[in-house]
Structures are given as C-alpha cells and as structure tokens.
Assembly symmetry: C2
Homo-oligomer: 461 residues x 2
C-alpha cells in the first residue's frame, strides 16, 4: 500500500492504496455534485497576511505551517506558506464573489494535497506531513441551510466508512476544546481501534458560523436590501480513511480489504499437478478472469511460474484480496472452481455455470461480514461509566467510554491533566448525535455537576 | 474560468475551468488504465541530494525550484524542494522495486500539482507557478517497448486537443535544444495561436532512454540472468491545455467552449412578453432542461428575474456556452424552441418533438465546426520557406514556418541569436512525425548545409 520515503513523515501511496482512494472519490464526488457543489482549484500557496487574518484559526495551525522562503538561489521578498487547509486561501474570494442574495448559496469543493508539518509520531495514512483530501467550503444566507448541509455531508462520511470501508463509526459533535479552530461547531464520524484502544477522528464537517465571514467580510445584500453576513461550512475527509480501514480489518495474515474498495476483488490462481492438464487449468483460469471482468468484477490471475501456489495464497492474503479462486485438476474435472474467503478462510466449491452470480453474492457477504465483525469488536470496547473510578478503570482497559458530562471546557482540561501518562491523556471523542436519555439528577462523571449530555471519552490518535 | 490570486503567478481555477479539466481527466485516465498504467501518489517534497542526482535534469529546473526552509517558527535542518516534476522523486523507488524482468514493465501515473517558480510573464493557464497535471513514469526491459508507448501516449494527447478541445495540433519531435532535460528524445503535440503568431507546446511524451536508470541504478536481471538497465519514459499534460483552447477559440464576444468539454452545453432562456403566458414559458423551459438532462446533455436554465433576456444572451455567450435555447410566446404557440449557435450565430427553430435528437446533432456540428474553423485558421498561418530571406519575411508575418533544416544544435542557436528582438527569438517548434519528402540536394534554410528534415519554426510561448 505504501512505501516509506526519504523525507520523514512523507509516504508514497502505491496503486493498491490509490485505487481505494479513487473508489471513495468517485462515490463522494458524484454525491456532492447531486447537491450542486462544484469543484474548483485554489492555489497551494498562501500569503502570510491572509493566513493570519483569523486569530483562533491561525493559532491552531501556525506551528505546523511549512514556509517557502527561496526560489532557485534567490530569497523571496516575503515568505509564502503552504496551505494546511484553505479557509484563508478561499474566503477573500468568497468576499469578492458574494454580493447579493442571488450569489448564495456558494458551494465549492476541491481535491488536493495539504501540508501540516507535524513533529509528533508520523504514521502512514494516519498522521503524515502531506496528505490528500477533499475540502468543501460553502456559504449560505441562513444558519438553517448551513446546519442542514453539515449533517448531509456527515452522512456521506458515515457511508464512506460503513458502506465502503466496512468500518463502524459514531456520528457526533466535538467538544469546544476539540472543535475546529475558528469554527462554530464541529461534527465528526468517530472510529475506534480495538487493538490499540484508541479513538480516531474519521472525518469532520464543520459549521463555521459567521466568524470567518466577519473576518473576511463575506457580506451580502438580502432580499430586504439589508446587509447580512454569510453562514459558512467547511468539511473534509482525507487519506486517513485508508489507514483507519487498515487498522480495523488487519489480522495476523496481513491486510483485509472490503470488496467494494479492493482494486483486485478476486485473484485466480492455477494449481497444476505433475500429470494434470496444465494448459487446461491455465485456460480455465483465463476464462474465469474474463468472465468475472465482463460482469464488472475486478478479477486478476497470478500465472507467475517462479512461485508455488502456496506462496501465492499467502501473498494475496497478505495484500488483502477478499476472494481467492483456485483451479486444479479436480476442479477442471468437476467443472467447478474453489473459492476461498479472505475474512474467514471458508472454502466453497462454485459450479462454473453459476460462477458470476455466486462470486457477486460472496463478495457482498464478505463486505457485510467485515462490517458486522468490526462492529462487534468495536461494540465490545464501549463501556458506560458514571463515576470517576469506573472511568479510570475503563480507561485502563482501553475502552471507548460513554459517560454523562457537564459539557464544561475546564472539566475536559481537568480530565486531561488527571489522566496524563505514558499512554497519553484521555479526551472527549464526541457527543453522539443519537443521545441516550439523561435522567433528571444525573451527574457528570468527572465534576459531579449536573450532566448535560452523554459523551464518548478515550485515548485517541 | 479563472480569478487572479494575491500571489503573482498563481491563479484560482473556478468550476467553469475545473469541469473542463475533469472531462479530459476522465477520458485520459480510462485510456491509460486500458494500457495497464496504474495511478499512485508520490510526495510533494524532494530532498536536495536526490533532486541533484541527474545533472542535466537539475540544470534545466534548478532556477525555478521553490524551497521550504521553515516550519512554524523553526528552520528545517535541510531545505526541502517542492517538486517541479517527479523524475527524481520517483526513480529511487523504481530502483528499489525493479529487480528482475518480471517486475517490468512498471507503469505508473499520478494526478497532482507541481511548482515552477518562473519569473517571466506569468499568464493564466499558460505559464503559472503552480499547475495541475498528470505525469506518467514508466520503465521497460526494451527500447522498442518504450518507443511504442511514447507514441501511444502522444496519440492520446492529440485526441485530447483535437477531439475534446477542438484544437488542431501537429505531432512532432523536439530538437536537441528543446528536448526534456536529461531525456533521450521528446515528442510533442504542438499548437499554434494565429492571433499572436506563436507556437505553443501542447503536451510532451518523452523517452528518457537509460540516462535516469543509470543515475538512479534502475537495474534488472533479464531472462538470461544478465544485469540490464531499464528503458524509461515520462509524459505529461497540464492545465495549459485549457489555456490553449481559450486562445484558439475565443472571439470578440468572449469564450467559445467546445461542446464535449463545456460544463453547460445548452443554456435555456425564457423570453416572456407582457401579455404572454409567462408561466407557460417558464414551464416549457424547465421541461426542456429536464428532457435534455435526461438524455445526458448538460443543460441549464437562467430564470433570474433581475436581468433581461438580452443581457443573458451576452452573458452566456461570453462564458462560451455552445448552444442557447430561447423560448418565447411564439415558440410556445408553435410547439418549438429556438436554438442559437455560439460559434456562428445561426438561429434554428427546433420542433419540441425532435428536440433531443436535434440538439445532439447541433452539438456535434458545433464541435466539428470549431475544429474545422480552427484548423483553417491554423493552416493559413503555415508557411513553407526554403531560404533565410523567406524565413525572415514569414517570421515578420507571424507565421508557423516549415523549413528544411540540417538538424544541428549550433544552427538553432544561431537562428535564435539572429532573430532576437522585442517579439522574442524564433526557435524550433517541432519536426513533424509525418515528414514531407526531402529531395536530394535540399539545403538548410539557415546554414546552407544539406537538409536532414523538415522542421516547424516560429516564436513560441
């Protein structure tokens, strides 16, 4: 999937990874086009004056900004920043383009790279200094339109994770401490990695309120002829999605790819024997691949003569191909092929007559099973706690902790301080949009004050 | 299409431009996938040691390289370059991945941004400091495989220009002076802008030979067990394609978009009169758009009530929409719509019964007419010369000059020196792949030595 690169924190995404990215992109791009969001492309570079216009925002990103100061042998007059995100790149032009209510809504998206020069533990896909993403930036006349879009986009992010990557996520709202720098509120799809006991922010959809429109003077004349400030959103998902998928589905044998995003869904391997009709087996493999490809299934064969079938089985298991088809002399004689599922190792003989239908069914079953299994593992990590002691115990067990909370920033800071340690402090992951009831008299697990909502807590990436 | 940006040489590509880019991308990406070329993504950043590995190559790019020297407030230990192109980014990994003949061919492509910090006359699309492109990088066991691919890709570039952008191009080979720095030979599709009398390199497909594989040690064991160096190609087209299209098809009224790439192919405008059935007209417009969209035609309506029909006509003409449909009371009464072609202003009444078929025909006609007209204008600029005096005269008339040439580097340098002036010097554009005969005794127009080939000369972007 990736190759390490000679600059720390940068990684090469090989075709196996990029094809997953492209599958998600195709889905998401078509969906946002239905929502009348248009693609555009703004420059990679930002001038320092513009970058620094929104104080909270720049405070959030400043330590990670990479600066270009030279071209060729010459120093630039003014250093130029590489976008860590494009709010400040785009909004001066939103200000220019938006004059009257007829210019709204303005709904733009771009597919691009961004750079955040982080120094803490670069990890492929999860935390890299350059990554690919889409970033949507929209402006509306009213808050309710903006609110609606935030949730529409969040639902698309949920679908990417659950329907494509087979990764269960929780839709929720970020705390004040964890929300996007400069925004009004942040919604998130939050995943959890049972192996490490850490939550991970999957993708975020922010309502920026009128904060940026105030700073960047995105002002329009409404239908009554009055000046008003636009309501804005921004939202993004990144190549981190692929990393989450890898961590959630991997096993001892290696990667496990959900069929919907696998660039090879079926690998066909000839299993010749000494005395057998080798040519017949190879022909059957070729015919099988052709038949599957014609039906829109991404199939390939492995005819390499310098590796044994057993080696090939392990190789393609490691690479995560959802379904393997083996064809040997017995299969040839019985006019069948043998299918082996990557997820559970089940072996199924498929008559060649119903090959396409059965393979399609099997791929759907694998897709579904991966999600169900991942959800069971995730759900087994969720622990409901009501007191500080229960919280500390659950944290020690690396749980995803659901607790009643007073929703105060100081209390979250306090929890962070009290749980500091080698493993990292606990913080809020999100407050689920689907809130369990908070009965009268429920107290905050951390402060003892009246609880306002249920919130997920845990260690996080 | 574009908006000027507050950093010189950077431009914002608005949806009207990006949708053209996406149309070409969809075509090209599908074609290269048929050729088993796989997409990948390599980092934006290059370390200086790697960048400087190939001497000729870096000499060609060094003055334009942008350097990152700081992150946040800290200086980097070593400055890091932003890719001007990715040969030096990728080939150390080609060296790692390619060991035996079974690892070949290796055929990769990426869609990305690159940065060339040029100081001479930034021009939107044509010469910008950041641009979007695809870059293909392939490695083969034999030269003949590499040679074949160079031409296959060049044909795809021709199709992008001629079939999509309706821009005539000449396939040719670059001179030694104009070829890609560090490569073996460069092929090009060369366009010409009659208004300015300048040639423009449309897209290039390079055979790199074994030069990079030598520098980066891309060595494989062939079938005989001997070590051999890989043969490599690289090839790219950029957002410049859009700029060439704009310059070739624009007229006094503004842009003219070929239907195949226009994000709106048909704009439907209601033309109500005082006493007429306004609602009926609006309904007919809506129905027309729906019908066209259902048939896969990109149609839209302009119902804005604060602009007159006449203003809208000009507006959409300026934006280059290939076909306008007007619906007024008379059209309603006659169960027809009026279509107006952007390219020649022709007005055609279309019965609503055969709307879809007729609109499809008209769009095809516009596409074809744009190409034919552009080709006539281009061909009228081509001048065959045989002597220096004829050459100077033709250059003064801003022609694309086809001349017999001895193919010597010193002679091209000499022509450059002798034609220096306010308008810029003349240089070779390309030697057409389809060579007219060079009769025995034909002399070079510039040096008087025996001519080896016909070559296009002119001023260039």
């Amino acid at each position: 999937m990736i190759e390490y690169y000679d600059i720390s924190g940068c990684y090469i995404m090989r075709p196996w990874a990029i094809s997953i990215w492209e599958t998600m992109q195709k889905f998401f791009d078509a969906e946002i086009k239905k929502m009348k969001i248009q693609n555009c492309y703004f420059p990679l570079f930002v001038s320092p004056t513009v970058l620094q216009k929104e104080k909270d925002h720049i405070e959030g990103f400043a330590p990670e900004v990479a600066w270009v100061t030279k071209s060729g042998e010459s120093d630039l007059e003014v250093p130029i920043a590489i976008r860590p995100t494009s709010e400040t790149v785009m909004y001066p032009y939103f200000s220019k383009w938006i004059r009257g209510h007829r210019d709204l809504p303005l709904k733009l998206n771009q597919w691009c790279n961004v750079v955040r020069w982080e120094f803490s533990n670069p990890t492929p896909f999860i935390r890299s200094r350059e990554f690919l993403w889409q970033e949507g930036h929209t402006a509306f006349a009213t808050k309710s339109e903006a609110d609606d879009e935030v949730l529409q986009i969040l639902e698309l992010y949920r679908r990417i994770y659950e329907e494509f990557l087979a990764v269960p996520v929780i839709k929720g709202k970020k705390s004040e401490l964890e929300k996007f720098a400069g925004g009004l509120y942040t919604t998130t799809v939050e995943a959890f990695i049972p192996n490490t006991g850490r939550g991970i922010q999957g993708a975020t959809s922010h309502c920026l309120g009128q904060n940026f429109s105030k700073m960047f003077e995105i002002i329009f004349e409404n239908e009554k002829g009055e000046k008003a400030m636009a309501w804005q959103n921004s939202w993004a998902y990144t190549t981190r999605t692929i990393g989450v998928m890898v961590m959630v589905h991997g096993d001892d044998k290696g990667l496990m790819l959900p069929p919907k995003v696998a660039s090879v869904q079926v690998i066909v391997i000839p299993v010749p024997y000494k005395d057998a009709d080798t040519q017949g087996i190879f022909d059957a493999c070729t015919a099988t691949v052709e038949k599957l490809c014609e039906a829109g299934i991404r199939a390939n064969s492995d005819f390499r003569d310098n590796y044994s079938p057993g080696w090939k089985y392990s190789h393609w298991e490691m690479k995560g191909v959802p379904l393997r088809i083996e064809i040997g002399p017995k299969d040839l004689a019985n006019d069948q092929v043998r299918a082996v599922r990557r997820d559970n190792g089940a072996k199924i003989d498929l008559p060649r007559g119903s090959l396409v239908e059965r393979v399609k069914e099997l791929l759907e079953e694998v897709q579904e099973s991966l999600f169900v299994a991942a959800k069971q593992r995730r759900d087994a990590c969720i622990q409901i706690v009501k007191t500080w002691d229960e919280f500390v115990e659950a944290l020690g067990q690396r749980k995803m902790i659901l607790a009643p909370w007073c929703d105060e920033e100081e209390v979250e800071k306090d929890v962070k301080a009290r749980t500091k340690g080698e493993m990292g402090a606990a913080k809020t992951l999100c407050s689920p949009l689907e809130q369990p009831e908070v009965p009268e008299g429920t107290l905050c697990f951390a402060s003892g004050k009246p609880a306002k909502k249920w919130t997920y807590w845990g260690r996080s990436y």
